[in-house]
């Protein structure tokens, strides 16, 4: 079916309706618009579409003209679309459609996408018509989501900087005061001890700054894919990791090769394994790592037989420094936060598996088996 533009009674009356030049100008503007444009009649039948609209929805022009606008909507929205159009027919004015609601379009291949629609009503000799201007906002939504994530991270970062950095510095300033006081009172016994305490805090601030930089950089994912296997990665980690006497790391891993962002994946696994050992409360323990490829993911469980994480602390283990004593802060404490950030940054996920036994903790890491390049967008 041919593209059918409505006669141009929309143009101001001084321009004669149907005049060839105006028709041509209208066609040109319509077709070259930076928005997808669709013209429909009161019955919801499409009478014209521009090139961009055709591209957005993945159809050929001829497939759309003369058919109902409803086919461009996901099934679940179709039933009340006719009544919405009727409502609109009673109060025709230019407007943005569905403000505050998320509008969704349906492509020919079945893929849905978020969109924004502006409606402009006009009247022709053939009756009332509406021109819908359509923008695909997939990219914008992705950017917004990314922005929200970055903001949340920044907020956390600020909190850490203001609390966890300030805290040892305040400690140092108190210690200076203690030393001064002891000097004045001639009590010199505690002075050396307090200098040591100061020194420990200076180191902890330095370490904290290093760790914060590591954490901040964990968000930069310059992905370098390397062919590897889960068993190879894990045996490399265990070869390097300093495993204390009495501890064993048991690995059951697939040796099927896959392309992985090897460095971050190794860092995450190393953090999880060393964490399991570091926070163990006994002299002997076992960390069991089970790693397999399943569908399009690598699934890795890291289970220990340590003290377990109390119910009320489970939600905060991934936050910065949450599990540590002030005096230990800086020595570690970023392991889980870095691991989680690396995992999500590379399209994976790190979760705490709900515990059914009193002791022991299991973390589950999922890592994409085929790296999604669109995450770099």
């Amino acid at each position: 079916m041919n593209q059918h533009f409505p006669p141009l009674s929309v143009v101001p009356s001084e321009l004669a309706p149907g005049a060839g030049e105006e028709d041509e100008a209208f066609t040109l503007i319509f077709n070259n618009s930076p928005y997808g444009k669709i013209i429909i009649g009161e019955d919801g039948i499409i009478s014209a579409v521009n090139d961009l609209a055709v591209k957005l929805f993945g159809y050929e022009k001829a497939e759309l003209i003369g058919t109902s606008i409803d086919q461009l909507l996901p099934e679940r929205y179709r039933h009340d679309h006719a009544s919405k159009r009727a409502q609109y027919g009673e109060d025709r004015s230019a407007r943005v459609m569905g403000q505050g609601r998320d509008l969704t379009g349906l492509r020919k291949d079945g893929v849905e996408f978020p969109l924004e629609i502006g409606l402009t009503p006009f009247t022709t000799s053939e009756g009332p018509m509406t021109c819908a201007a359509i923008v695909d906002i997939t990219e914008r939504q992705r950017t917004e989501r990314r922005l929200r994530e970055v903001n949340a991270q920044l907020e956390e970062f600020t909190y850490v900087a203001s609390h966890d950095l300030r805290s040892p510095i305040r400690g140092i300033s108190n210690l200076i005061e203690f030393i001064r006081e002891d000097f004045e009172d001639g009590q010199l016994d505690g002075v050396l001890k307090n200098i040591d305490r100061m020194e420990a805090r200076v180191h902890s601030v330095e370490k904290l700054i290093d760790d914060l930089l590591t954490y901040a950089r964990a968000g930069n994912r310059a992905v370098q894919l390397e062919p590897t296997s889960l068993s190879e990665i894990l045996s490399d980690i265990i070869a390097i990791e300093d495993i204390p006497d009495g501890f064993a790391v048991k690995v059951e891993a697939s040796d099927e090769p896959f392309d992985a962002a090897r460095t971050p994946l190794t860092t995450v696994l190393r953090n999880l394994i060393s964490n399991a050992i570091k926070h163990h409360d006994r002299d002997e323990g076992t960390v069991t790592v089970t790693a397999r490829l399943q569908d399009n993911q690598a699934l890795i469980d890291i289970a220990d037989d340590g003290p377990g994480i109390p119910e009320n602390a489970r939600e905060r283990v991934f936050r910065l420094f949450q599990t540590l004593k002030a005096s230990e802060r800086g020595s570690s404490g970023l392991g889980l936060a870095v691991a989680q950030r690396l995992a999500t940054g590379h399209g994976g996920q790190l979760d705490l598996v709900p515990s059914i036994t009193e002791r022991g903790t299991t973390f589950r890491l999922t890592w994409p088996r085929f790296t999604r390049t669109d995450l770099n967008a």
């Binding site: 203001s162 609390h163 805290s167 305040r170 108190n174 210690l175 540590l324 004593k325 005096s327």
Partner: protein, 149 residues
């Protein structure tokens, strides 16, 4: 006939329970009190859980009726808010007078603390090295306020 308050303010254990994972703060309070109010002593706990153990007599250094509790927020095992939730849910612990004593100056933390009914929110940065205001407050509590039984 009404019961009268037989408890004189000063008969309560003259001790402050400070719950903070940084032992410098218990020392800070202790040093300040040693000069300004030597009869008030300090019991320290490293985190919320140890705080509860101290209050319930399960710790090596029990202190079941402290004058007031000074409470930090960020701590391992059980943080300040979790501690408050825990004691407010227990009839035998819920009436303790708690002052937050923290480095956090976040409004969110302040509001949350008052939602738990704390008696005051003290920012560590505001007390100054001599802790003059703090020791006055604790002395006044010990000598004038009639505390829950």
């Amino acid at each position: 006939m009404h019961d009268t308050l037989t408890q004189a303010p000063h008969t309560r254990e003259p001790r402050i329970l400070i719950i903070d994972d940084d032992d410098i703060y218990s020392e800070l309070v202790e040093r300040a009190l040693r000069k300004a109010a030597p009869d008030i002593s300090v019991v320290a706990a490293e985190d919320g859980q140890e705080g509860i153990d101290v209050l319930t007599g399960r710790a090596a250094n029990p202190c079941e009726k402290p004058l007031v509790i000074l409470l930090d927020i960020n701590m391992p095992r059980m943080n300040g808010f979790e501690f408050l939730k825990e004691i407010r849910a227990k009839p035998e612990l819920r009436n303790h007078v708690v002052f937050m004593f923290t480095t956090s100056e976040a409004e969110e933390d302040r509001d949350r603390a008052y939602d738990f009914g704390v008696a005051g929110y003290i920012a560590k940065s505001r007390v100054g090295p001599q802790m003059a205001g703090m020791t006055e407050l604790l002395k006044s509590y010990a000598s004038t306020v009639i505390l829950p039984g």
